[in-house]
């Protein structure tokens, strides 16, 4: 899931804290994820992107991504790597 970035923030879904749960049962994977905001304009892109990324992993036969809103995402869910990436990204732009 680190392959899928939020294009606005330039940070992947995992480091953004959008992945809530991953359940692996043999070749089947179910992921529960959220978005930064319910009106997120990247809704379709990120969900489909996550599904595509899972589907490209050898060994996975079926992958399902479920969008959940509880608990609502908040910026405190970004992990330290995500925060570092944001700072590094900004330094690169100077």
């Amino acid at each position: 899931m680190r392959k899928v970035i939020d294009p606005e923030l330039g940070i992947n879904l995992v480091d953004l804290g959008l992945i809530y749960d991953v359940a692996i049962e043999g070749p089947d994977v179910r992921v529960k994820m959220t978005l930064t905001t319910p009106g997120c304009p990247m809704h379709d892109s990120l969900l489909r992107g996550a599904e595509r990324a899972l589907g490209r992993i050898p060994g996975i036969v079926s992958a399902a991504v479920e969008l959940v809103w509880d608990p609502p995402w908040n910026p405190n869910m970004i992990n330290p790597d995500g925060l570092k990436a944001m700072q590094r990204d900004w330094r690169g732009s100077r």
């Binding site: 680190r2 970035i5 294009p7 589907g55 910026p75 570092k84 732009s93």
Partner: protein, 501 residues
């Protein structure tokens, strides 16, 4: 190994309350407005240095009105219309009433703006009145479309209230503008011409433009700065205060009433409450450093804050009539139009246009191959240079207006034109992705994007980015897929804890 790209039917998707994909219109609807608006802006700022002598004169001149309407209708209103068609469905989480109306509305708007500007320039007021009628048709279609969108919403939040009020004030401005245009032909309006003009300007600048900027900001600033959405109590107070102030300002300025100072104070209080809210959002943000687009929009707010005491002084009659008052009024209008509004728009265009283009060009590639981040579609280096040039040009032009000096004006306007062209090149760099997307063979740099240099080089497929970095992210997923190590598109992002998928 049989893998199934899981975009098919088995993926259960729990839609959020009210969240439906594809709420917005086709990309080409907002883009045609935005691209036309940017062309109008470039035309105005490129031609302005050649009209420096006229701008050193009184502002009540037909040629000056041509420039003003090219900016207010061609640049600002066209931009807001395009951005509204893109952002209102996102910000309100509601389906746009009619994409077809939005497409139809473009033509009377463009023809009307061309007609108004050309006839003001030629001093032909019959043609100007007809053209104003075309703009009114476009505004009616816009009002119908957004009005119907709002009407179907079960509840109006703070963004919807601002949008509704802004559209109502826009319609009022267009109606008044048409009456003013007809008066130029028929001469029926018995009133002080400068009062009529000042009332019209404030209705448009505060009621239409500032109102919609305030409303959309409540959605976009938290989104772009990673801050929680503000509690609606204070924004609601701000909305009603500001709306009451603007609604009272128009008739009192029109009639030259002393009550205008009261409504100017109420309007100023509304602006103060908004600034307070923005400061709270900025303090609560999680994003460590704001990008240049948001920073541009936020510093534009500084110009609005500076203009408030000037407006209050005019309303209170503290500035004696005469040459200085006329120069100050001209600089006040210019700083409102360019310092506050245009700077806000330029900042937001670096967010909205990349999103539109990215969504159209790269959305389907997410998860398949590396795609650029939004800020990699243009040059942030040139954006930053343009930011400082914009401030220099705005302040230089305002100084020239105050001093009534054609030379200072010409210098300030030339710097402003240079900054505007940097903005234009960056927009062009973004639009180029529509025809030639970055692919695996292209360079993605952490920050530089393809930008102006890429544009000038003709976007060489093997070209380097602004800072000369070659991508480290352009590898097809290997046999071990993501484990091969495609990291964040923003660069070398180390892995953190979490499921290794």
């Amino acid at each position: 190994m049989a893998t199934r790209p899981a975009s098919g039917g088995s993926a259960p998707r729990a839609a959020a309350p009210g969240l439906r994909p594809g709420l917005g219109p086709s990309i080409w609807v907002p883009l045609r407005y935005l691209a036309t608006a940017q062309a109008a802006f470039l035309l105005a700022v490129t031609a302005a240095p050649f009209y420096a002598e006229g701008l050193a004169d009184h502002y009540y001149l037909s040629h000056t009105f041509a420039f003003t309407h090219l900016l207010t209708l061609g640049w600002i209103s066209m931009t807001i219309m395009g951005a509204a068609y893109q952002l209102v469905p996102v910000a309100l989480d509601a389906q746009l009433y009619s994409e077809r109306l939005a497409r139809w509305q473009y033509w009377p708007m463009v023809l009307g703006v061309i007609g108004i500007v050309a006839h003001f320039w030629m001093g032909h007021f019959n043609g100007m009145a007809w053209s104003a009628g075309l703009v009114l048709v476009a505004v009616l279609l816009f009002t119908w479309n957004l009005g119907a969108t709002l009407w179907r919403m079960p509840r109006w939040g703070i963004v919807a209230k601002h949008v509704a009020a802004a559209v109502a004030f826009f319609l009022a401005t267009a109606l008044v503008g048409n009456l003013m245009a007809l008066d130029k032909v028929l001469g029926f309006w018995k009133g002080e011409v400068l009062n009529i003009l000042h009332a019209h300007v404030h209705l448009a600048a505060l009621g239409w433009v500032t109102m919609i900027i305030f409303g959309v900001a409540y959605r976009l600033i938290p989104m772009f700065s990673l801050a929680p959405d503000p509690d609606e109590r204070m924004p609601n107070r701000q909305f009603w205060t500001f709306t009451a102030g603007v609604a009272g300002l128009y008739p009192t300025i029109l009639l030259g009433s002393r009550l205008q100072v009261l409504f100017a104070l109420v309007t100023a209080a509304g602006i103060g409450l908004f600034v307070h809210q923005v400061a709270r959002i900025a303090r609560a943000r999680k994003k460590p450093v704001l990008d240049w687009g948001v920073r541009t929009a936020l510093t534009a707010l500084g110009y609005l804050v500076v203009l408030v005491p000037v407006g209050l002084a005019f309303a209170a009659g503290l500035i004696p009539e005469g040459e200085f008052a006329s120069r100050l009024a001209f600089a006040y209008g210019f700083l409102g139009l360019v310092g506050w509004v245009s700077l806000t728009i330029i900042g937001m265009m670096h967010k909205i246009v990349p999103f539109l283009v990215w969504f159209h060009r790269y959305s389907d590639l997410v998860g398949k191959e590396p795609v650029p981040a939004l800020h990699q579609l243009y040059s942030e280096v040139w954006q930053r240079r343009g930011y400082w040039l914009l401030h220099a040009g705005i302040l230089g032009t305002a100084a020239g207006l105050l001093a009534a000096s054609p030379w200072i004006l010409r210098g300030g306007l030339a710097v402003l034109a240079a900054a505007a062209w940097i903005f234009g090149f960056n927009m062009l760099a973004i639009y180029r992705h529509l025809r030639r997307p970055l692919t695996l063979s292209h360079t993605l740099s952490p920050a530089g994007g393809v930008g102006v240099r890429g544009l000038i080089k003709g976007f060489s497929k093997t070209g380097e980015s602004d800072n000369g970095n070659r991508s480290r992210d352009h590898r097809e997923p290997g046999p071990r897929g993501v484990e091969e190590g495609h990291r964040s598109g923003a660069g070398d992002q180390p892995r953190g804890p979490g499921p290794h998928l």
